[in-house]
């Protein structure tokens, strides 16, 4: 029986789904937190719901946040999502799909929910190997956030809990993540990665996220269950 609660940031993609599987394997009660931030790829919201159900989450909370009014990203604005980029470009540039302060905002909501739930553990599937372009995916960012979390909440200030930001994927390659997920029984056909899906919800096959996904399955030597347009 689960004896501890975890808030898990879930996008319905490979990383957060594998993270949820790992928390489940550690016997956490799962509180799944997903954001509807005006992203173009709403199939990810459907995927997150299916994934939460698959892992018998105690609750799946979808919070609408208003990043469009702030602007600044191809994921929320009318900027073209880049297609067909090579591995080097994906790995070393900060992409136009970067959403300003996204993980900072996501973790802040997770912290608020954790405080209400009296949970001390927040899981986020960030990864600094296969996707180092985002500043808020790096270990030093996470460490600074954890430090902040312990100064930010009533329970932490009163010494009742020590907040932990858990990033089990931080040093794993996409292939390792997929292998770990398969070992833990993840059904990746439930997940969604594409930044620019077709109207029917098919993955484009060409955006950075599709390219990393394909590469991950290929390198893990595991069949990719995704339906790609290309």
């Amino acid at each position: 029986m689960p004896d501890k609660k975890a808030v898990i940031l879930s996008s319905g993609g490979i990383d957060s789904t594998t993270t949820m599987a790992m928390a489940k394997a550690e016997n956490y009660a799962i509180y799944s937190l997903t954001f509807n931030y005006g992203q173009r790829h709403t199939p990810e919201l459907e995927a997150a719901k299916k994934v939460a159900h698959y892992f018998a989450a105690k609750k799946h909370l979808v919070i609408s946040i208003d990043l469009r009014s702030i602007g600044g990203s191809a994921l929320t604005d009318d900027i073209d999502v880049p297609k067909g980029r090579d591995d080097h470009a994906i790995r070393y540039g900060i992409p136009v799909t970067y959403v300003p302060a996204r993980n900072t905002i996501f973790l802040s909501y997770a912290l608020a929910w954790a405080e209400v739930l009296q949970a001390s553990d927040i899981f986020i599937g960030v990864n600094s190997i296969d996707y180092s372009g985002y500043p808020d995916c790096r270990p030093e960012f996470i460490a600074a956030y954890e430090r902040l979390a312990n100064l930010a909440t009533k329970a932490a200030v009163e010494g009742k809990v020590i907040m932990k930001i858990k990033t089990p994927l931080i040093s794993m390659t996409k292939a390792d993540i997929i292998k770990k997920g398969i070992e833990l029984g993840v059904d990746y056909s439930l997940t969604h990665s594409c930044y620019d899906p077709s109207l029917e919800g098919k993955a484009c096959g060409l955006c950075d996220s599709c390219i990393l996904r394909k590469k991950g399955f290929r390198e893990a030597a595991i069949p990719d269950p995704t339906h790609y347009v290309t």
Copy 2:
């Protein structure tokens, strides 16, 4: 002519309004940021709008955030707002009006907007003297946030800006804040503090926020322009 941009968190109350006046006096271009978080006291949204107009803000952005779904506070839930508490109770307890991780969430949006605006300064009117009950109003919280901000954004990571979280009121009493504001030409009749206003928008006169407001004007020996029920 303003040569630098500041994002100012504005609630339409005394503290954030005085903070905005101080930023204006330092020649910042004002970008006013207000949150609609399902608070009971919507007159504060009206006040924030009037204040932004008064200070000729370049933009006044109101972001709706979904704290009700997270719960946990008398400001957003159906918990009674405490009335008639004495100074000691207000000063030393964490009140039920505490909204989980509120300033953490607010600063995260401010950071996102600052990044899009290419602004490096975020002003927040927190105060650790007259209202020490909230963990996320303390100097150590703000310092940790500033550290995080410099690890969280593209511009900071690329070394283009140093993010600063400015808290000009941090060590001021409410009376000093009001005196400073009057000196800078603030019209406090535009502002709103009450947690539990009447249907006509009158201040209750009994909640912690009204008590601190009354005390501030009294101690500053400045007439209080507020219309109180009591």
